[in-house]
């Protein structure tokens, strides 16, 4: 027996009208990071060294630059969703919670854009 109304069952929505979006976003970006993360870990294990020229030689090739862009995009998105849940769980008080969520999103966007700018600048050889 369900306590939900017939209309509610048909629409498949909770009182907030969404919620599965966050779940799916976390899972799908997690799948992307499974692949991109393993590639990045492999690259960091086998990169010859961490001098400036060696770093540039790793970042600049088109395939590496594209994979790095995908990595920072998925990572920023996935991390934002994760930190969002932690804030929702532990930060109490409506105003503090809202401000924390907004700051977290700004910080994640900033990091992803800053990283992407670096990758593109190196990739284009500037």
């Amino acid at each position: 027996m369900s306590l939900r109304t017939p209309l509610g069952q048909v629409l498949g929505q909770g009182s907030a009208k969404d919620g599965t979006g966050h779940f799916w976003g976390q899972r799908v970006s997690g799948m992307a990071l499974l692949v991109l993360g393993l590639w990045f870990a492999y690259s960091m294990a086998t990169i010859p060294g961490f001098s400036h020229s060696e770093a540039l030689a790793f970042i600049a090739p088109p395939l590496n630059a594209v994979l790095l862009l995908l990595l920072v995009a998925s990572l920023g998105y996935h991390s934002n969703l994760g930190v969002q849940v932690v804030i929702e769980d532990y930060v109490h008080g409506h105003a503090t919670k809202l401000v924390s969520l907004i700051l977290s999103r700004f910080a994640h966007t900033f990091l992803a854009v800053a990283a992407a700018y670096g990758i593109i600048k190196i990739g284009l050889g500037a």
Binding site: G30, A41, A55, G76, V86, G118
Partner: protein, 125 residues
């Protein structure tokens, strides 16, 4: 209120900490740690683009004892979060929920994370 000496449940003296609790807490802790690591990754990529001076300054922070400990920590956090994330995918399709399965997968993930971290640094150094 009298309870005639009957045991309270669950009581601290008989409570046994489940391994699945450890992996659950570690999943969130490593996730947060990796979010902090994202700052370092972004700084590495941006400083590499800015120039040799900014880059060396950034890398010199990581080439310290504290920096190395953090890097080992991030590598463990990465492998643990990744392996336990796959464990979550298995749960998402409705499998592995039996207590014995969950305990076994928890130990598997813990061991895999430690071995992967050791393997990563063995290849790296």
């Amino acid at each position: 209120m009298s309870n005639n000496g009957r045991p309270l449940s669950p009581h601290l003296s008989i409570y046994s900490w489940p391994i699945t609790m450890t992996t659950s807490i570690l999943h969130r802790a490593t996730g947060l740690g990796l979010s902090v690591g994202f700052i370092v990754l972004a700084a590495w990529l941006l400083d590499a683009a800015v120039g040799a001076e900014a880059y060396s300054a950034m890398v010199s922070y990581l080439d310290t004892t504290v920096g190395r400990v953090l890097l080992v920590g991030w590598s463990f956090a990465f492998f643990f979060h990744l392996a336990n994330g796959v464990r979550h995918f298995v749960w998402d399709v409705g499998r592995g929920f039996e207590i014995r399965q969950a305990n076994a997968s928890a130990w598997f993930v813990m061991i895999l994370a430690v071995v992967s971290t050791a393997g990563f640094w063995w290849v790296r150094t």
